[in-house]
Symmetry: C2
Subunit: 200 residues, 2 copies
């Protein structure tokens, strides 16, 4: 593709990457009021080839964490709860927000214990994903807790009502197939430990 011959061309002097893509010049917008779980802002971004400006929404969002927890018997520790976005009951692995300055491994241990009462001494990091890089700027970290045992009471917020559900691997697979387990970030964690291919 030919670069526009334009003195305003923001790409002048910028190295392109292997595909010839150029970075977008971004002017971060003022942060809008907090929306409970993230803080929006409207950035002004400039197309690197045409110089045209656009407004883009960014939700400034803390990192999240979730935990694949398995008992010594190979049962998966799941959390069932009513979700206010989808307005239905969901079956998920435990998880939540990483607090400010909290290492995400500590957040994983805290969320597992608070939501389910299970704890573990055997933790493995499963990597992280971008929940949605189109508008979120956060990561979701996935952890595996093996040999998880019920050692404490649940410690829910007053705004939570979570039931603990233990399921075998076969039941988890059935839940994914039926759509009972459908939260994308639950699936990106589970696919690290289970082969989730479907028959084609």
């Amino acid at each position: 593709m030919t670069e526009p011959k334009n003195e305003q061309n923001p790409s002048a002097g910028v190295n392109t990457d292997a595909q010839g893509l150029l970075p977008w010049k971004t002017v971060e917008g003022q942060k809008e009021p907090h929306m409970m779980i993230f803080r929006p802002r409207y950035d002004q971004v400039q197309h690197p080839r045409t110089g045209e400006s656009f407004q883009r929404l960014v939700l400034d969002t803390p990192d999240w964490v979730n935990v694949v927890a398995r008992t010594p018997e190979g049962q998966y520790v799941l959390a069932k709860q009513y979700r206010f976005g989808s307005q239905d009951m969901t079956l998920e692995i435990p998880g939540g927000m990483v607090e400010k300055a909290e290492p995400h491994g500590d957040a994983a241990k805290r969320e597992l214990q608070e939501e389910t009462g299970y704890t573990s001494d055997q933790w493995t990091y499963l990597g992280c994903v971008q929940p949605n890089p189109a508008f979120h700027n956060n990561l979701c970290h996935h952890w595996l807790a093996q040999d998880a045992q019920l050692t404490a009471p649940q410690n829910m917020d007053s705004g939570e009502d979570i039931a603990i559900v233990l399921q075998s691997e076969a039941q988890v697979r059935e839940g994914i197939a039926s759509g009972a387990i459908a939260h994308s970030l639950v699936l990106t964690a589970l696919c690290k430990v289970l082969d989730l291919r479907i028959p084609l």
Copy 2:
């Protein structure tokens, strides 16, 4: 757990599910102004056991769709672009929003062609996920396009700058391992056709 003995108890007469969970009474809030890609509202929800009320953010969001497209040679058709949330270049499968009244299968075909110029006659539905049921009310539908061929020019919005990248299965796996492919909804689609387990 004992039900609260309270005439205000919103759960009176409501059947519980297998885990004893009860639905939350929800009063939908006024829709706030559109935020470009979704419309927020603040619902009032009532805890089914305690009767306590909470405000919860819901982002009213259209369904999304994305496409695992493979060429006759087994190459994956990927879209590389700058993302305004994460403020970095991402490598993704093609996808986008389902338009109002548009069947999601049509949206899959449209997005593949617009973003990459590839088309296919061999489409298979891979199922759907909830992007984030905590605050989104939408689904993301996953489609597989086999025998995809470059038959048309890209047809990008003026606000897009997308490079097409063809990768072998081995390269896709490397990209996932390195974090170059990290969008959660790309991974929930790819895990339907690739075993994404990591060595433990």
